[in-house]
């Protein structure tokens, strides 16, 4: 990893939504980095802000949402001049976002393939559309490339499938089409927002493999969004644990899985279903996430945290570096040198030991 090339740099991103019930501070100071060819995952409970963060990256926030502050820097090497360029997506106009970023540089695979394809347009047309639109390709060129793409994503009988309508395809097939659409303009970043949650378990693994495969072939950078920690372990290089609009722990997969430091990450890992434990006794994190329409004092997780310190209720913890690592960071007062020595629950410790053994 000598000279990794940074493609996306998010710093201190704050996003709020105006609603009938007031202003909701959905994203509160998110930092993220994505490097060329690498995969990061964002995990967290429902409503933690995973989708909003990535929507901001594509510039497709809902109309009531605004980026209050922060930068989303996107960097690339110009295809013609080779010059290194950087833009702040947060500052781009709608027109520039639409023409330059969406589809061309950053593409998205949506969660539910049953509803994310236009029901009255043939598969072929839907895949061909962006390349004709953005690159002015002729019909023949686009057709040829679409055939290649459909084969790449593992659709057999591609020529026949191009004339099909979405309802004639199974869920797994449709998700392959959605992936083909995402790849149609040769983007550099692929955002997968829960790409397999809506699919059968048997198909999930295949789609994940496919995305990994394509990532290698095309040297893509991928952002995975999921609440399935099992998925993350298989595909990502880095994990970002998100809670109430903040990243509370980040690091390499092994660091976060084998040496989790934030009590919220402990909770998530404990709540992860696995084959050996009894599902009836599955752990759930007590309580609910805070209502972000109100100001959050201190650590947003404190009210649900059995290990919370006094200071957690008053002062928001900064990002602490985990000693001995340059990548592992945790936003918890427990990381402070003066904090009491709190260990993760015994059950989780045993679980991790087991995971480690299986992983070897």
């Amino acid at each position: 990893m000598a000279d990794r090339e940074r493609i996306l740099k998010i710093r201190d991103l704050n996003i709020s939504f105006t609603t009938d019930h007031g202003k909701i501070n959905a994203i509160r100071g998110v930092n993220l980095d994505l490097y060329k060819g690498e995969t990061i995952a964002i995990v967290g409970e429902s409503g933690s802000g995973k989708s909003v963060t990535t929507k901001a990256v594509m510039g497709i926030l809902a109309s009531n949402g605004t980026i209050d502050s922060g930068v989303i820097e996107y960097s690339w090497n110009d295809e013609n001049t080779g010059e290194h360029k950087t833009v702040d997506i947060a500052q781009l106009s709608e027109k520039d976002l639409q023409k330059e970023i969406r589809g061309r540089k950053i593409a998205m695979v949506f969660q539910d393939p049953m509803t994310s394809l236009n029901p009255t347009m043939t598969i072929g047309k839907q895949v061909m559309e962006p390349m004709i639109y953005h690159y002015g390709k002729s019909k023949e060129e686009a057709y040829k490339k679409t055939l290649e793409l459909l084969e790449l994503v593992g659709i057999t009988d591609a020529e026949k499938r191009m004339k099909n309508y979405p309802h004639q395809l199974s869920g797994g097939m449709r998700q392959r089409v959605v992936i083909a659409i995402a790849l149609s303009c040769d983007p550099y970043v692929l955002i997968c927002d829960e790409p397999t949650t809506a699919l059968d378990v048997t198909i999930q693994a295949k789609i994940l493999e496919l995305i990994q495969d394509i990532q290698k072939k095309k040297n893509l950078s991928v952002i995975y969004i999921t609440h399935d920690l099992g998925v993350v372990a298989k595909v990502a290089d880095y994990v970002n644990v998100m809670y109430a609009g903040k990243i509370v722990e980040t690091g390499l997969i092994d660091e976060v899985y084998y040496d989790p430091r934030h009590p919220y990450t402990w909770g998530l890992l404990s709540a992860m279903p696995d084959l050996d434990t009894d599902d009836d006794e599955l752990y759930t994190i007590p309580g609910t996430p805070p209502n972000l329409a109100y100001r959050v004092d201190g650590d947003a997780f404190a009210p649900r945290n059995q290990f919370a310190l006094n200071i957690d209720l008053r002062v928001e913890p900064p990002m602490f570096d985990v000693p001995g690592s340059s990548t592992h960071k945790v936003a918890s007062w427990l990381m402070h040198p003066n904090a009491p020595d709190v260990k993760m629950p015994e059950a989780l410790k045993n679980r991790i030991e087991k995971m480690k053994k299986e992983g070897e």
């Binding site: 970023i101 969406r102 394809l117 236009n118 009255t120 962006p130 953005h134 309802h167 659409i181």
Partner: protein
């Protein structure tokens, strides 16, 4: 068109034909049960009346009368008028009026649908703005104000106060005379179509495939034109059936108001004087129109919507 589509259309045609036969039978029965006869002249003696009944076959048992009627109808013979223009062939009486009534009706449907769709889409794209609110108010008015009230208003305004259009239908100026009735009729169509289109468009715009189109980097106009428009319009076709029924009843009253020599007026006259054959023929015609329109709507829906066209789980 493939085989299964042909089969489907064939089946629908058969069902339509059966429906029409049943309609005629019910109409026939109802007319017989209605009080009075076409020949209520005080001066006629019982014997004379019986002679007239015999002449027109009205003395026969119900089923014989029905059978004869159906038989003649299939050859295009709808009998003669008993009252309105005694002994005139009903087909001659009805024929010239078809064009007038259907012309006005079809013009109102087309005008109403086009304006309604445009209005609905405009309102959806400007959701929760003043324009949207005005469009909604207009829709509510259009649905709740009967077309004859609007017809009277238009008459007063553009026929009397500012006499641009004729107050009564002038056969020498069929187009000019049709303007006000068409507007009056189309008002309700506009309102219904606009309201439906608006809500369809709003739900289409909130759908995942529109988000995907956005993520593809398409501009707003392209997204609406290529992805939202068609998916909005397909369901709109389904409400044209009920709208048509509204139009038929509305047109009967409007034809009275504007003195339009159309089918609706003929039907009302026929009912007042118990002119069986006229009432039957006109009602039958309305039924045919309705059944045929429903058939067209169904088939075109199947052709436009690929999910129906190809059959589910194909």
């Amino acid at each position: 068109m493939n085989k299964s589509t042909m089969k489907y259309i064939g089946k629908r045609l058969l069902i339509s034909a059966i429906t029409l036969v049943i309609i005629v039978a019910v109409l026939f029965l109802m007319l017989k049960l209605m009080p009075g006869t076409p020949f209520n002249d005080e001066k006629l003696t019982e014997a004379q009346k019986l002679a007239i009944y015999a002449k027109y076959g009205l003395d026969q048992p119900f089923f014989v009368q029905f059978f004869n009627y159906m038989k003649n109808m299939l050859t295009g013979d709808f009998g003669v008028s008993f009252g309105i223009v005694r002994n005139m062939q009903v087909s001659d009486l009805v024929g010239p009026r078809i064009l007038i009534s259907f012309g006005i009706g079809i013009a109102a449907v087309i005008l109403g649908t086009v304006i309604g769709v445009l209005l609905g889409i405009y309102a959806a794209l400007h959701k929760n703005t003043l324009a949207d609110t005005l469009a909604t108010i207009f829709s509510v008015l259009g649905v709740s104000v009967p077309s004859f009230v609007l017809g009277l208003l238009l008459l007063l305004l553009l026929g009397v106060t500012i006499p641009v259009f004729p107050i009564l239908y002038e056969s020498s100026h069929p187009l000019r005379s049709s303007v006000l009735p068409v507007i009056a009729l189309s008002f309700g169509v506009i309102a219904n179509v606009a309201r439906f289109t608006r809500s369809e468009m709003i739900s289409v715009l909130a759908s995942d495939y529109i988000a995907l189109a956005e993520a593809k980097g398409l501009d707003r106009t392209t997204i609406i034109r290529k992805h939202a428009f068609r998916n909005t319009l397909i369901p709109v076709i389904t409400i044209l059936g009920p709208i048509l029924v509204n139009l038929m009843t509305g047109s009967m009253v409007l034809e009275q108001i504007f003195s339009i020599p159309g089918l609706g007026r003929l039907l009302v006259e026929g009912i007042t004087v118990n002119d069986y054959n006229v009432v039957l023929a006109v009602s039958f015609l309305y039924s045919v129109l309705y059944v045929v329109m429903m058939l067209i709507i169904d088939i075109s829906y199947g052709i436009i919507d690929p999910r129906i066209r190809l059959g589910k789980g194909d």
